[in-house]
Amino acid sequence: MSLMKNVWVFSDKQDILAEICAGAHQLGERVTALLIGNQSTADEVIKAGADHVYLMGELDGSRMVEDFLPTIEKLVEDHKPELIIFGNTKRGKLMAGRLAAKRGTSVLADVIEFAEDGTCKRRVYGGAAISTIKSNAEVAIATVGSGVFGPQSLDESRQGTTEKVEFIPADSKIKCLERRAKGSVTVNLTAAKRVVAVGRGFAEKEDLKMAEELAELIGAEIACTRPIAEGLDWLPRERYVGVSGVMFKPDLYIALGISGQIQHMVGCNQSKTIIAINKDKAAPIFKQVDYGIVGDLYKVLPTLIEKLKAGK
């Protein structure tokens, strides 16, 4: 494929910005980062992969990240890169959408793959399928999550240029009164190499402890199906496999009490090995496993845990 001439990247999060800058070289000859920061952060971004950085200013107490949108809008209008990628944080999604509306186009949202022919892919229908889409716009606008471009490394010797640009004040009708740190859920399923996932086969929240024990024994992260995260609320949403945008490629995936509906399976079907325990022999998951047990997980799981403990 011929690379695009210019790919621009923006994120309100430094690490995501760095990751996408590195990955954007797969798409464009020249990668430009739009940065809220200072020269030192600009240098870091260059090392990560940016060829050029537009330094838009810093966040002082009075400015919100979103206030930088007019500055970004003007830069995009003046230079018209073929593609601008926003990291898909909540802020990123908002800003991408507002930019798109201003420019009369849509956003390619939560892209999981960019193809050589200018199309890209995203998950739809709760994860049951993948749509291949393409923007008609002069400047395509996309949002992308962590893990899409694969692991990148820092190159200390990398060189690039920095350009300070004028901050255009926003006529903001939104004022930030307060910011509070959130007890953030530090779950990173995309990085997990081993996963134990729980589904409706578990009758009570307390029973999840068995799954957690298994996970601990084999060094796995806990994940779950949609009803457990959204309906029953037994686990935080970050642990739900199947939501669009979560890239997921573990070596080992153990599904406990999960029936295997398409939405869920798409989330984990890139796993190297899939194991399932479910008491329903007709459950769709058994069409997509490497190893499975049709049995009562309330009997199998404790036995499995016992043996693992004994063997170790």
Partner: protein, 256 residues
């Protein structure tokens, strides 16, 4: 306070069939109000319960919107009336087309103070329409809102981001996209269901709202279920020791 809550009618994704050629079959799927739109409607009801006013529900799409059961389903959740923009071209509208259509309808309804959207549609989940809508209307726009408190001609919102919560003062009129944490949607009571059928419904087409021209901004080339990897399919039945031992042996190999 005039509140407009936007919703989308989507197929129940539990009913989706995957054909041999990996395309999706949606024709048999039950239609429902998007699950992320229900808290948005309820949030609108809470705002007027606290601050007085009226809630109108609004949706744009194809003829599916005319389904009586679906209209009643929305109205049984509290809105005083319902506005629909129906046109078959909206069946596969992209987010920009949807946002433009909603914007035109909202302008025609007039006097909106607060527009509330769900965080995304439960079928395509681009999470874009709210953001685009606010920009097109020239109103304050914010997403990820988990709490709304009315204070005169402003609203104070809590916005739940990845690592922090922002407390923001938003001037009205505004477009707010809310998360599912904002409020638990009600289960309509019998009375609410029975009175839903009597509430006014206004239906427009694209020409009525001055949007004869609403071009696509992106193409969907195909939508396919992913290819399934070839799996070993080694499955044993029962909960006996032997069966578990067998699995353990395989598991140990993988843990190597």
């Amino acid at each position: 306070m005039n509140v407009i809550t936007c919703y989308k009618i989507v197929p129940d994704d539990q009913d989706i069939i995957v054909h041999e050629d990996r395309t999706l079959g949606l024709e048999k799927a039950e239609l429902e109000i998007g699950q992320y739109d229900l808290p948005a409607i309820e949030a609108g009801m809470k705002v007027v319960a606290d601050a007085g006013g009226k809630v109108s529900a609004l949706s744009v799409g194809s003829k599916h919107l005319e389904n009586t059961k679906l209209k009643k389903a929305v109205l049984s959740r509290g809105p005083d009336d319902l506005y629909l923009v129906v046109d078959d071209s909206l069946a596969d509208a992209d987010t920009h087309q949807t946002a433009r259509t909603l914007a035109a309808a909202i302008k025609k309804i007039g006097n909106a103070d607060l527009i509330i959207c769900g965080e995304g549609s439960s079928d395509l989940y681009a999470q874009q329409v709210g953001a685009q809508l606010g920009e097109l209307l020239g109103m304050a726009t914010i997403n990820a809102v988990s709490k709304i408190t009315v204070e005169g001609d402003k609203v104070i919102v809590e916005r739940t981001l990845e690592d922090e919560v922002e407390v923001l003062e938003v001037s009205l009129p505004a477009v707010i996209s809310v998360t599912t944490d904002i409020i638990q949607p009600r289960i309509p009571s019998m009375k609410e269901v029975l009175s839903a059928g009597k509430k006014p419904v206004t239906q427009w087409n694209l020409a009525d709202i001055g949007l004869a021209d609403n071009p696509k901004t992106m193409e969907t080339i195909n939508t396919l279920a992913p290819e399934l990897a070839e799996r070993k399919l080694i499955i044993n039945e029962g909960d006996s020791e032997e069966v578990v031992d067998q699995l353990l042996a395989n598991l140990r190999q993988e843990l190597q």
